[in-house]
Symmetry: C3
Subunit: 201 residues, 3 copies
């Protein structure tokens, strides 16, 4: 591991950027943002004070990670994915809405993207949603409800159309069991959702 | 009020940026753009010559306000909202389309976002649409038709699923009357749409 | 023709940028990207090594053209259009997915946008799709299947709702023939799709 690489045009104001992480052109990481080790943060990104990014995360270009958003280890965020942290937005400068923005408790709603999940290009994640580990959100999907671990969701609003392996490949279940054609991982489909079999974890 | 704050990496070429307005990193305001007072313009924004932004407007990161687009006072624009100003786009450099781009009258279609409205993350606003005052466009919605004042619209194409208060909170109408649970504003639902009651204006 | 114009804040690392092309503020063209002549590349764009952009192309602001994406001559790309080049994305830094990213053949899927096509604001183009010549993809559409030449597609997922002329105008077919009300081009509708009549090519 090496210390972080910061592109000469990037603004890295945070003191908490992990070893081996690279921050590319015209990106801006605010003081108070936490970014883990060995991440890749593309051009034109923005990470706000209070946002949390784990280790081994890939942020493609044009992403903004707001306060209240947490990306766990190994998450993939495609280009221009949109997080939100307010369910009833108004301009805080609008007199009729100003009161609500005087305290964070009144408007800030957190979002959690769990380990190894992938968010496709331009996906929109409504505040308050949890995307489960190793789930995949298709490009252009608008996620309004929680996404189960290993689920594949697409559309506006996003609906589940399948299941995916830890490696990202689609899983075909037969009699509630599936083996990944790509990496060989094996899974069971139960009432609680998809579970990796112990020997393949 | 104070004079505008321009981040050292921002390009503010316009002479018409109002008092107290802040322009953040890597944003670009072209000469001939008009921006009002007490606005907040996030990172990576672009405001074109001929665009008009009122007072107390919040532009989250990654927004582009084109010529032909007018944002009235107190509007909220979530991250990466997309305005358009051409209904039949082609590259103006394409020989078969070049003629249409020789005069603005042939292609430029205006858009108006009225006072206090909010446009959610990644919403797309088709040129020629008017979004009424205090309306809310949900994140990821594609707005192809006018939006009534106080309407809440979502989806692709956007459809109305409810009504919202000036403060942003959803309104529940009973017998054509509603009182906001957040700010106490009272409203009537008429054939012409939602009207704020006089004493609560 | 003149040599390319590069805005002082832009990073143009490629040696293959054609005559007369303009690259605007905060954009980044990587070494190994190929950009043709007489293009206009707006603010906050990114063109990756291996991407190919033809002549007379208009890239509005905020676009990213990845390796594997080819834009033919005269293409229009509205603001924040999203290309992709991987159908099963994961963070390449995730141990369970790392192997797939060791060789491009395992994940890179190409996309081709043919001559004179237009991609509306915020459209999402799934990797592997071909958009035919002079087609128009509506703003906010999510393109998951090939788009025929001259087709107009909208929605998520995108579906064809009409046909358009080379100049961008909608075509109304009567008995399988149409004449453009804007530029006078004439077309036939056959089993193979829309064909420009010989004398109007």
């Amino acid at each position: 591991m090496t210390k972080p690489f910061i592109h000469p045009t990037a603004l890295a104001e945070s003191l908490e950027i992990g070893e081996g992480t690279r921050v590319w052109a015209f990106s801006h990481i605010l003081n108070g943002a936490r970014v883990g080790r060995n991440c890749n943060i593309g051009d034109h990104c923005f990470i706000e004070s209070g946002a949390v990014v784990g280790d081994n995360v890939t942020l493609k270009n044009g992403n903004m990670v707001w306060e209240g958003v947490e990306l766990a280890d190994g998450v993939f965020v495609g280009p221009n994915v949109l997080f939100t942290n307010d369910l009833h937005p108004r301009s805080p400068r609008l007199p009729q809405a100003h009161g609500r923005y005087t305290e964070k408790e009144k408007w800030l709603v957190p979002t959690l993207i769990e380990r190894g999940a992938a968010l496709g290009a331009g996906a929109v994640i409504i505040a308050g949603v949890k995307v489960g580990e190793y789930a995949t959100v298709g490009a252009g999907a608008v996620v309004t409800r929680p996404v189960a671990p290993h689920a594949l969701v697409v559309g506006n609003p996003a609906r589940r159309i399948g299941w995916v392996c830890r490696c990202g490949k689609s899983l075909k279940f037969q009699r509630c069991r599936a083996k990944c054609s790509e990496c060989g991982g094996s899974f069971s489909l139960t009432k609680e959702g998809v579970r990796g079999d112990q020997h393949s974890r």
